[in-house]
C-alpha cells in the first residue's frame, strides 16, 4: 500500500500499539535544555529510576543565557541557577552537555542539524515546541512537555496517538525578495494559527525542493504556529549534501547504508493525506504580521484586514488594540524601534549572510536598536570567518553571542513596553519579547531593510 513519508517513519518506530489508538513510539534522539528539563530529572530521581539511554541525549543551555560576555558568570540569579542545574544534572547522569563556551553550544534546534545529530528517518523530541525544525531532514520531530521529557528519559519512548497527515504543496518559482520565512508566514496566514492542529504536515512541491536545508528548517520550524505537531520534508540530494561530513553524521560504510535507507523516505505515488493544500509560489510576496498570533500575517504592501473570518470580533479587536493598529490601515511608513535577527527560526549563517549582504555599505536608522544573535557558536565562528561581523558593525549592528535571546526575552534581551520590533523569530504573542512589547514577524531581509529605513517599507523597491 502506498505510504506517506510520515507513515514510513512513524511505522518504523512503533514498539507496540495499545487499544484506543495509542502507539508506544520509540524516540531516537532527545535534546534537552535548561528550562524544561529540571523537573524531569527530579521526577526520574524521585522514582529511583536511571536514564534509559543517556547516549541518545544531548543537552545545551540556550533559553536564558546572556548574549554578551558569556565567559563571565551569568548575572541574573534565577537564570544562573537554572543553567547550573542543567550542568549538575548532566554531570550526575552522564549526559553530553555543550555548555556555555563550548564550540558546539547554541540554540538546541540549530546545533542538532549542524552537528549531524538530526538525520532523515529519525524520531526526535525536545521539551520545546520548535523541535518541529528537525523535520526539514525527513525526521519526525516534535515538542513535548516536561512530563514527557521524563518519560523519554525513563524509557526512550512516548505514548502517542497517531496524528492525521496533511500535505502542503507549493509549486512554481519564488518571487524576488521572497524567502522561506515569507512562505511559512503566508501558509499560516491561509491556514490560521489553529489550522494544522491534529496534523503532521509534509511540505512538498518544486518551490520547497528549490530551498536550501537552512530555509527548509525555517519552514518546518513554524509548523507549530499553525498548531501542527510537526512538519517534514522528504530528504533529497540537498539534504544528503548538507549532512555529509558533519560531526556525528554516519561515515564510511555506514554513510552508504544510511543513503540507501534515506533514499526510501518519500511519500509514495498515490499515498493519501487526510488534508491537502496547494499554493502557487508566484502568489507569495514578502510578508509581515500585524497582530498577536502568527496567523495574522499580510503581504507587507497590503492593508490590515477589517476583520478575520476565523476570529471573533472581541479577540481581533483585542489584538489590534495591543498592537496599536487600526483595522484596514497599511503598515507602510510605520516607524520601528527594534529589529531582532535571531531565534531557532532565522539565526543560521544564510540568514546572517542575507542581512550582511543587504546592509553592506549602509547605515542603520538612528531610531532603530538592532540586535543580531547567531544561533550557535559555529554560526558565530563562520560569520566572523566571512567578515560578516565587520560588515554588520560598520552598518551599526552588533553581532552578539548565541542563545534564544529576544525571541522570548528570558534573558536581558527584551523589547520595552509599547515599542515595535520587527523580528525574525516565530511568535508575536502579547508580551513575548518583553511585557507590553509589540512584535511584527518577518524575514531576515525585511528585518534588514526595516533597520536601515527605520520604518516599514515595500522592500521590493529596495532590491537591485
Amino acid at each position: 500500500m502506498a505510504k506517506t513519508l510520515f507513515d514510513k517513519v512513524w511505522d518504523a518506530h512503533v514498539v507496540k500499539s495499545l487499544e484506543g489508538g495509542i502507539d508506544v513510539l520509540y524516540i531516537d534522539r532527545h535534546l534537552i535544555h535548561e528550562v524544561t528539563s529540571p523537573q524531569a530529572f527530579s521526577e526520574i530521581e524521585k522514582r529511583g529510576l536511571t536514564l534509559f539511554r543517556k547516549d541518545q541525549m544531548v543537552a545545551t543551555p540556550d533559553h536564558n543565557v546572556p548574549t554578551k560576555d558569556q565567559h563571565l558568570p551569568i548575572q541574573e540569579a534565577l537564570s544562573r541557577h537554572q543553567v547550573d542545574t542543567l550542568i549538575n544534572n548532566c554531570e550526575k547522569h552522564n549526559v553530553t552537555l555543550y555548555g556555555l563556551g563550548h564550540p558546539f553550544q547554541g540554540i538546541v534546534h540549530v546545533i542538532g542539524p549542524e552537528l549531524g545529530i538530526t538525520l532523515p528517518g529519525r524520531t526526535m523530541v525536545c521539551g520545546d515546541s520548535h523541535t518541529s525544525t528537525h523535520g526539514a531532514f525527513g525526521a519526525i520531530a516534535f515538542g513535548i512537555g516536561t512530563s514527557q521529557v521524563a518519560q523519554v528519559m525513563a524509557s526512550q519512548c512516548l505514548l502517542q496517538s497517531r496524528p492525521k497527515t496533511m500535505r502542503i504543496t507549493i509549486d512554481g518559482k519564488l518571487n524576488k525578495g521572497v524567502y522561506a520565512k515569507d512562505i511559512i508566514l503566508y501558509v499560516i496566514s491561509k491556514l490560521t494559527a489553529a489550522g494544522g492542529t491534529g496534523y503532521f504536515v509534509e511540505y512538498a512541491g518544486s518551490a520547497i525542493r528549490s530551498l536550501s536545508m537552512e530555509a527548509r528548517m525555517t519552514i518546518c520550524n513554524m509548523s507549530i504556529e499553525m498548531g501542527a505537531r510537526g512538519g517534514m520534508i522528504a530528504p533529497d540530494e540537498t539534504t544528503f549534501d548538507y549532512i555529509h561530513g558533519r560531526e556525528f553524521a554516519p561515515k564510511g560504510e555506514a554513510w552508504e547504508r544510511a543513503l540507501d535507507y534515506w533514499s526510501t523516505l518519500y511519500s509514495d505515488e498515490g499515498a493519501t493525506f487526510d488534508k491537502e493544500y496547494n499554493f502557487p509560489a508566484e502568489d507569495i510576496e514578502p510578508m509581515i504580521t500585524y497582530g498577536t498570533n502568527p496567523g495574522m500575517g499580510i503581504k507587507i504592501t497590503s492593508a490590515i484586514p477589517d476583520r478575520l473570518a476565523e476570529a471573533g470580533e472581541e479577540s481581533f479587536n483585542k489584538s489590534l488594540k495591543y498592537m496599536g493598529f487600526q483595522a484596514g490601515e497599511s503598515l507602510l511608513g510605520k516607524p520601528i524601534d527594534y529589529v531582532f535577527i535571531g531565534s531557532c527560526t532565522n539565526s543560521r549563517i544564510e540568514d546572517l549572510r542575507i542581512v550582511a549582504n543587504y546592509v553592506k555599505g549602509k547605515r542603520k536608522a538612528s531610531n532603530v536598536n538592532a540586535m543580531i544573535v547567531p544561533g550557535s557558536k559555529q554560526v558565530e565562528k563562520q560569520a566572523k570567518a566571512e567578515g560578516l561581523d565587520k560588515i554588520l558593525e560598520e552598518a551599526g549592528f552588533e553581532l552578539r553571542e548565541p542563545g534564544c535571546s529576544a525571541c522570548l526575552g528570558m534573558n536581558e534581551d527584551k523589547v520595552p513596553a509599547g515599542a515595535y520590533c520587527v523580528s525574525t523569530s516565530n511568535r508575536n504573542f502579547e508580551g513575548r519579547q518583553g511585557p507590553g512589547a509589540r512584535t511584527l514577524l518577518a524575514s531576515p531581509l525585511v528585518a534588514a531593510v526595516t533597520a536601515i529605513e527605520g520604518k516599514i517599507v515595500d522592500i521590493t523597491k529596495h532590491l537591485n
Binding site: 534565577l78 515546541s129 518519560q151 526512550q156 505514548l159 505537531r229 547504508r257 508580551g431
Partner: protein, 195 residues
C-alpha cells in the same frame, strides 16, 4: 498525579480565542526548577499592571467569578510546549478547562497533570459562556466516567482517550506503564533498522 472523577463547580468565563501559553505563564516565570507555585503568575500580564496592582477588568480579579472550571475561547493553549502552563492552571485551582478547541501539546500536558481539557461544540461553549454571565453562581458538572459536561438542563458528551481516562480515574501516569514494558522496548531496539 491526583485522581480525577467528577467536578461540580462554578466557572470562570474567558471568551478570548487563541489564548497561548505565553499568556497563561510568561517566559520570565519559567526559571524555577520545581513544579510548585506557578499559580501566582498565572495570566500574569493580563492579571496585573506593571507595578503589580491587579487589573480590575480582568476576570480573575473579578470576585463575581470563581471556581475550578475555566471556560475559554477556541484554540486554547497554543504556542509554546511549556508544561508550566498546565502546572500554573492547576496550582491556581483549576481542575477543568472547557473550550471548543485545544492545541495538541497543551492538551497532552494537561492530561499528564490531572487537569481535564473538555472540548465542546461552538454552540455549547457559547451557551455556557452566556449562562455564566447571566448567573455567575451557575453550577457546572464535569463527569469523567460518563464523559458528560452539564449545566441547567443542557448537557453534552465529550471525547477523552480511553487510556488517558483510565489514567485520570486512577491517578496513574505514562512512566509507570513505559517502565513496565522495558523488555519490549529493548527488543524493538535490537530489531530497528533506523540509522
Amino acid at each position: 498525579m491526583e485522581k480525577f472523577v467528577k467536578v461540580t463547580s462554578t466557572a470562570v468565563p474567558m471568551p478570548i480565542e487563541d489564548i497561548d501559553t505565553d499568556q497563561i505563564i510568561p517566559a520570565r516565570f519559567l526559571k524555577a526548577t520545581n513544579r510548585e507555585g506557578f499559580g501566582e503568575n498565572l495570566f500574569r500580564d493580563w492579571r496585573y499592571e506593571k507595578g503589580n496592582e491587579p487589573k480590575a477588568d480582568f476576570v480573575l480579579n473579578d470576585s463575581t467569578y470563581s471556581g475550578e472550571i475555566l471556560v475559554a475561547g477556541k484554540n486554547f493553549g497554543c504556542g509554546s510546549s511549556r508544561e508550566h502552563a498546565a502546572w500554573a492552571l492547576y496550582d491556581y485551582g483549576f481542575r477543568v478547562v472547557v473550550s471548543s478547541f485545544f492545541a495538541d501539546i497543551f492538551k497532552g500536558n494537561a492530561l499528564n497533570n490531572g487537569l481535564l481539557p473538555v472540548q465542546v461544540s461552538d454552540a455549547f461553549l457559547s451557551d455556557l459562556l452566556q449562562a455564566i454571565k447571566k448567573n455567575p453562581a451557575l453550577q457546572v458538572t464535569v463527569n469523567l466516567p460518563e464523559q458528560v459536561i452539564s449545566f441547567d438542563d443542557k448537557a453534552e458528551t465529550f471525547e477523552v482517550n480511553a487510556y488517558k481516562k483510565e489514567c485520570l480515574l486512577n491517578g496513574y501516569d505514562d512512566i509507570d506503564f513505559l517502565v513496565s514494558i522495558k523488555e519490549e522496548i529493548e527488543a524493538y531496539e535490537a530489531s530497528s533498522k533506523v540509522i
